[in-house]
Structure formats: C-alpha cells, structure tokens
Symmetry: C2
Subunit: 189 residues, 2 copies
C-alpha cells in the first residue's frame, strides 16, 4: 500500500509518500509490531513541500497546489490520499483560505480515484507521537524514528505530510496496531 | 464580453452566463446608460444550479462542482469568471466547507485561463439592487429587470450567480456606469 499524505497550506503544502507491505487483515493486526519491524515496516518514498508565491493571486496558488498534488499522484500511483483537517481555531479568514487549498487537494485525489481519508491534526499527532498535544519537533522526531531516517524531514510541513500518511498506514493495520504503536511512540518520545 | 458568474455552495452552486457587447473603454463609460439600453445591453445566455448529493462525501461533491463549472466554461467560452465571496459570519465549519467549493471553482477558471474576479456578497447586491442589504427576492427581481426577463431566475441561487456575472459586467463598464445603474436600480426596486 502506498499513501500520499498531505498537510494543506496556501503558502506551503507539506507532503509525504509512505509505502508499506503490511496487509489490512486481522492477521496483520495480531502480529502487530513484530510484523512491522520485519517485512511490513512502513518506509518513506518521498517527502517535501509544494510552495506557492505569496504575491500570486489565490487562484494561481490553488492551480500550483493542484498541479503539484496531481504530479505526485502520477509519479507514485498511491492507493490512498490522507489529508489533514484544517484547524479552525485561528482567524476565520485564514480558515476559509485554507479550505480553498484543501478543496483542490481533495479534488486531485478524487479525480484520480484514490481512497480518501481525512484526519484531524490531533489524531495525526496521537497516532504518530502518542499525544494529540505533540509539538512540531516531536512529530518530526517520531516520523524519523518510525521510518528509520537519519534526519527528521525538513521543513516541519513536510514532516506533517509524512505523519498524515503514517496515520493512514497505521489505521489500515487496524486500530489495535495503531494504538499499540502510538503508545510505544509516546513512551519513546 | 461573456462572464460566468458563480455563487458557490457545497449543496447548490448557482451560476449565470451573461454577455454584453459593451467595451470597457472611457467612451463606453461616458455614453453610460444610453449605450447600454441600445446595442450594449447585457443579456442572459444561461443560468441554473449545480446540485450535489447531500449523502456523497465531500471530495465527490467537489468533483461534481468542478466538473460542472468546467463544462460551463467549455460550452460558453467566457472571458471572465466572477465568483462571490463566502460569508464568514456563519459557523466556522460551514465557512470552511464553502471554502473547499470555492477553491475548486477558482481552480476551474484559473486552469481555463479566464480573468478571475471575486466580489463580496454586499457588493453584488449593491451593484444590482443598489443596496448591500438587499433580500434574495430583490436580487431576483432586479436581475429580471436588468436582463429584461419575463420571470426571475429560479431558484434564488441561480439568480445570485447571474447577479455576480452582472456585477462583473457593470464593473467592466467603469465604476461610473456601475454606480449610475446601481442608483437607478435602487430607485426602481
């Protein structure tokens, strides 16, 4: 299974492509972490950010984001798109503009026929770090740990995209695996 | 000039296609209403709504909206896309979801290379009815008047799409023409 994870933003959209051999079956769930650390360990294929020009009008930035996501889908043929929900605690104008970016991202996945998953930011942090109140640094640290990377993905937005893809992978392995890994991750962080 | 006007919504997106022979020049502005009532009068080509299934997931509804707008552009070859801004006085969740719809609409226009105009709802009402506090019924009434239609466009969302296109046409004829027509419209309403 290949998952494209996206952390939407109008200026910087973070993304991560994560692959796993693990099958979403009862057996895989029971085997749990042992299977994961053997053949089923999730691995990072690519991560980065799609940047748009702050001086460009909104519709051009949306086009850049849509093109960027469409290119990623064409390059990696993911099975699923995992998109982080937008915080709506910030100011309403910001939330509205982020909604635009999220709209064109979901469209790209829908047009390509991908399974689409949406996760609130707190759930992504909980799945990867073990607590919904994790900092950006903790997310970067745990993403690197779980994917056995030498360095944490930079910038933090890229790590957030990877974390979102990881959340989807862990969820596909069953809630048990997710919770177990989440607990371990929390202890390690 | 052909303008596609859109009033975005996740359930119902209203649209109107308005054409005018008027040129956006200083002369056209000076001639003002006389020119408009002669050869330059704006006329309605098509209006309606794009409806999405309330039971479909958001990403499918966004795809339907995007496809609908893309089809309208292919059919009418408009020069400009005029999109109403989203109210953000309502609850934040609604605003966020409307932002998604607006995002895919702006994307469709941007991909087609159209000039893109965004108008706050109050400005659309002001341009068409003469007051930013106009009711939906007043907008429908004035849209029918200005375009010499026998009946007001139905449903109200379609009339809002037409009103948005009209705002763009009136703006292109210069702020003077817009204000003059706006004042007349207000008196007539």
């Amino acid at each position: 299974m290949i998952v494209l994870g996206i952390d939407p933003g109008t200026a910087t959209t973070g993304y991560g492509v994560v692959a796993t051999d693990a099958v979403a079956s009862a057996e895989a769930t029971v085997v749990g972490r042992v299977a994961k650390s053997a053949h089923g360990a999730p691995r990072l294929i690519e991560c980065g950010v799609i940047r748009t020009s702050p001086r460009a009008p909104l519709h051009e930035r949306l086009r850049d984001i849509h093109e960027g996501v469409t290119e990623l889908i064409a390059r990696h043929h993911p099975d699923a798109l995992a998109v982080e929900d937008v915080f709506y605690a910030r100011n309403v104008r910001t939330t509205l503009v982020l909604g635009h970016a999220r709209g064109v991202i979901l469209l790209a996945g829908s047009t390509a026929g991908l399974a689409i998953h949406e996760y609130p930011p707190a759930l992504v942090k909980k799945a990867v770090v073990g607590t919904g109140a994790a900092t950006k640094e903790q997310v970067q640290f745990m993403v690197a740990k779980l994917l056995r990377l030498k360095h944490a993905p930079e910038p933090a937005d890229a790590a957030d995209g990877v974390a979102c893809a990881l959340t989807c992978v862990l969820n596909a392995e069953g809630p048990l695996a997710r919770l177990r890994l989440g607990a371990t991750a929390g202890a390690r962080a």
